[in-house]
């Protein structure tokens, strides 16, 4: 970039050469102290919990590979290295709510996450994990994850009422952002609402409503698009919970947000601060929450995989470190670094260790957590925080003015936003407008690009043994209980007023699989049980462009 071009942030906010008093944050009441409304400067817990030991954030890493037993070993290894929480993601079949022995699934079992399809799988996954001490976050279809964890923890002597963690609720965007469960919007929303209500009752310490803006934004959305879509989904779900008669203060404290973090660090920090402030105002002023715990939202972050490069993978360690440092200074509650081998695979053991150690080095050696919101009061950062708040708010209002959100989902409005973001990103990389070291600048020849590649390129086979064990297990189930459980799911699905969560928990407990239960949800709606017939019907037979 030459000196003549006007600088701007990654989201296109024009930047001045430097910032001076009065640029932003003029009214300190609009910012507030850390832990005080409107929580711009951070959501710090009650003073009693703020011992020296507990300062900082929950260190965790995305995990899950192969069978539940193999993933369990991986979770234990992470905890042994000092992880303070767990985030577990399913493989492609699990994320699609399909069973590993479905013919479309077998080639994908366990290669991009853990394979989970039955109660026994959840029991094996969390065996020996101190669920009463650490948080377990799910990147899984939420109703099944909550049901599975609810059923599994008593088997290990843990009362579900003490469970902490979070479950991603993706009713608006999952179909368009790589995590299709082949269910129509109405059913996805019912699953979200019913599972949140279920968890409020049965797992009251659990954040059953995690708004995940990571997976929707890492195709190429900017921070304004990311947070406006995230807040839009929160607002939609909140309105529907209120419409069911739940008081806002009964569920708002159980909302958390998992955000992305790209490479424009000040913009990302400002995004976190703006989001905390917007959430607080929204809850207090729009939804009428009176409990301060409803105002201060818990924010965790997953650093962007899209910013990592297949070229020169060691550079990704640096990217993860600077992103994590920025997020530590933003005062997030949980942090996951996309590991250096992310462009190639789910994290290897050594990549996990490097990522955890990166967090530990920042936490223990840099002293950045000694003071809350250390960057607060920066004229630049406060200005950026104000600007982002205005832009995100305007974007939310603009979309809400378009009418019913469910209609926008079903007519592909959001899908077009995601596709546009992907295209914009790939064009910017191709043209060099988005500068990436090792990709469009400072490129080295492939034969010289060997460092860490041997690790990054390691592969493992789909877990065919697990597929066989599921096949062998099916006929051993109690047929009567199984049929009854599935029939209840089918009936509940057909009745728009019925609760889905009770029948799902009961069916899972009766050894029904996630694929079978989801099939019955579809059948209750008059759709084919096998999602590929449903998917074929939903998808236009090919778009000529």
């Amino acid at each position: 970039m030459t000196g003549n071009e006007a600088a701007s942030s990654a989201a296109g906010i024009p930047l001045r050469p430097f910032y001076a008093p009065g640029a932003g944050g003029r009214d300190y009441a609009e910012i507030g102290d850390p832990g005080a409304y409107p929580y711009t400067r951070g959501r710090i817990g009650p003073p009693a919990a703020r011992t020296r030991r507990r300062r900082g954030w929950i260190h965790r890493e995305l995990s899950g590979e192969g069978s539940p037993r193999r993933s369990n070993e991986q979770l234990r290894a992470l905890l042994a290295r000092g992880a303070l929480g767990i985030d577990v993601i399913g493989d492609n079949p699990t994320m699609s709510a399909l069973d590993p022995d479905h013919p479309m699934c077998t080639p994908a079992v366990g290669t991009t996450g853990v394979s989970l399809c039955r109660k026994q799988d959840f029991i094996e996954l969390v065996a020996g994990i101190p669920l009463d001490e650490i948080t377990l976050s799910h990147s899984l279809p939420p109703a099944f994850a909550l049901a599975g964890q609810y059923l599994a923890s008593p088997c290990h002597g843990i009362d579900p009422r003490v469970l902490r963690g979070s479950a991603i609720q993706p009713p608006l965007y999952s179909e368009d952002c790589s995590y299709s469960t082949f269910l129509p919007f109405g059913t996805r929303m019912r699953l979200t609402l019913d599972s949140i209500v279920f968890a409020l009752r049965e797992m009251p310490r659990f954040h059953a409503f995690l708004e995940d803006t990571y997976y929707i934004s890492d195709g190429g959305l900017d921070v304004v698009e990311e947070m406006s879509l995230g807040l839009l989904e929160i607002r939609e779900v909140c309105r529907r919970l209120l419409a069911r008669g739940l008081p806002v203060d009964s569920f708002a404290p159980r909302i958390a947000i998992l955000v992305n973090c790209r490479m424009d660090l000040f913009e990302e920090i400002a995004k976190i601060r703006a989001t905390r402030r917007m959430f607080a105002r929204m809850m207090r002023e729009e939804f009428g929450a009176t409990d301060p715990r409803s105002w201060s939202v818990n924010i965790a972050v997953h650093t962007s995989g899209l910013t990592l490069t297949a070229a020169q993978p060691a550079n990704n360690i640096v990217r993860g470190a600077v992103q994590a440092l920025a997020m530590a200074m933003a005062g997030v509650q949980g942090l996951e670094i996309s590991a250096f081998d992310e462009p190639f695979r789910t994290p290897s053991a050594i990549a996990h260790q490097v990522a955890i150690r990166t967090q530990q080095v920042i936490q223990t050696e840099t002293n950045v957590t000694a003071v809350e919101d250390p960057l607060g009061g920066s004229w630049y950062l406060e200005s950026l925080t104000d600007e982002l708040e205005g832009r995100i708010d305007a974007a939310v209002r603009q979309i809400e003015a378009l009418g019913d959100v469910g209609t926008l989902v079903e007519t592909g409005y959001f899908r077009n936003i995601f596709l546009h973001g992907m295209d914009r990103h790939s064009r910017a990389v191709q043209s060099g407008e988005l500068r990436m070291v090792g990709v469009n600048e400072h490129v080295i020849a492939p034969e010289d690009d060997w460092f860490l590649r041997d690790i990054a390129e390691q592969r493992f086979e789909p877990d065919y043994a697990h597929v066989e064990s599921i096949r062998a297990w099916r006929p051993t189930r109690d047929d009567v209980a199984l049929r009854a459980g599935l029939e209840h799911v089918r009936e509940a699905s057909a009745d728009p007023e019925a609760d889905l969560m009770g029948p799902i928990v009961a069916a899972l407990d009766a050894d029904a699989t996630i694929g079978e239960i989801t099939g019955c949800l579809r059948e209750g709606l008059g759709l084919p049980g096998d999602p590929f017939e449903f998917a074929a019907r939903r998808q236009a037979p090919g778009i000529r462009t």
Binding site: N92, P93, M95, S96, L98, M104, C105, T106, P107, A108, T111, T112, D176, S178, Y179, S180, G219, G220, T309, A310, A311, P343, F344, R345, G412, R415, N416, L419, H420, M422, D423, H425, S426, R427, V429, Q430, V439, N440, P446, R453, E457, R459, P462, F532, A535, R538, Q539, A540, P541, G542, I543, R544, T545
Partner: protein, 409 residues
Amino acid sequence: MTGPPAGPSAPSAGSGRPGRVVIGTLGLDQHEVGAMAISRILIRHGYEVIYLGRFNTPERLTGAAEQEDADLVGVSIHSWEYTAYADELLARCQELGIGLVFGGSVLTERDQAELLGRGADAVFGPYASEATMLRQIDAVVRRVRGGDQLAGQVVIVTGAAHGLGRAYALELCRQGAAVVADDIDEAALKEVTDAAADLPGSVHAVVCDVTGSDAPRTMLDAALRRYGQLHGLVSNAGLLRSGPILRLDDSDLHLLLEVHVTAPFRLLRAIGGYWRAESKAGRAVEASVVLTTSAAGLYGFRAEAAYSAAKAAVAMLARVGADELGRYGATVNAVAPVARTRLTEWLGEAPPNPGDDPLAADHVAPAIAWLLGPAARNITGRVLEVGNSCLPRRRTYCCLRCSPARHRR
């Protein structure tokens, strides 16, 4: 689901795109970033994309390709699932005689080599450049179409509204080329575009006077905007001003030199510059230029001294041009056509049935197509006389256009 939104520069639908491609992901691999990106690149460069999105099997991808008569299947890969499908997909594509291209950030160099070894036509790893992907996909389309000798080729033809130029444009189209057709006669140019509507290639009309100093830039820009690339030039625009030396005035002299010498010179300079830049950027250039000289330029016609001199200059332009542009991958030749056109009214009336006319412009056109095609890569710096009895009869060229591969479907 909806397809990728049309880009601002996406050309309208129609026949004669550089290629037709089916794109999707395999199995449960739901990450569409790569599929989207390559679709949009291809659309921007005039390809027709049939976007199948997610949850595809080899059967579904190749079924759509067969039904849509696509040239190739493109698979975007974000998960190792593809290994379970690759063999079936390769076999199905080979059976259909269509191309298969893989792309994805998880494809290591080892994976790429392995897929190529198993029969994939092209494999792109992370950050393959747009130009590389386009060039390779172009080549796959050309191979697949086989019989369409000029499929994927983009060629500028000047003076394309009438006579020889019109015959060239249509013949190139018939052989699958994308033609940027230039002329000052807009209405006649429109007729050429209409006549090409059902041909395998396509015509993009540019109304532009070749004597304008910015004409080469206008044509080059039009080609790049519409098709993203340029492989050939047929400099054909011409006119005649007759008169003995003692009577031809300056304005006629200047006009003849402008149209026949200055204009092709400027075209060579501008387009040669583009090929040089492509070549310097490391992209393989396979380009061809055909200039138009005349028997007048080779032997001299009485009362055509200025015209003859100008045409003689063109022949020399071809020889020096071949020498200078050869290093950038371009051939340069000149043809001296003999045909019944507006410039050769002295040849008299054509016989009632055009098929019986040995002087029809249609007989020259296949030679021009041949010079632009892969078979003439080693022919450069030559001056060829084509027309009347010294040109091969039209049926001689049937084998070029009608090779068995053309009828593969």
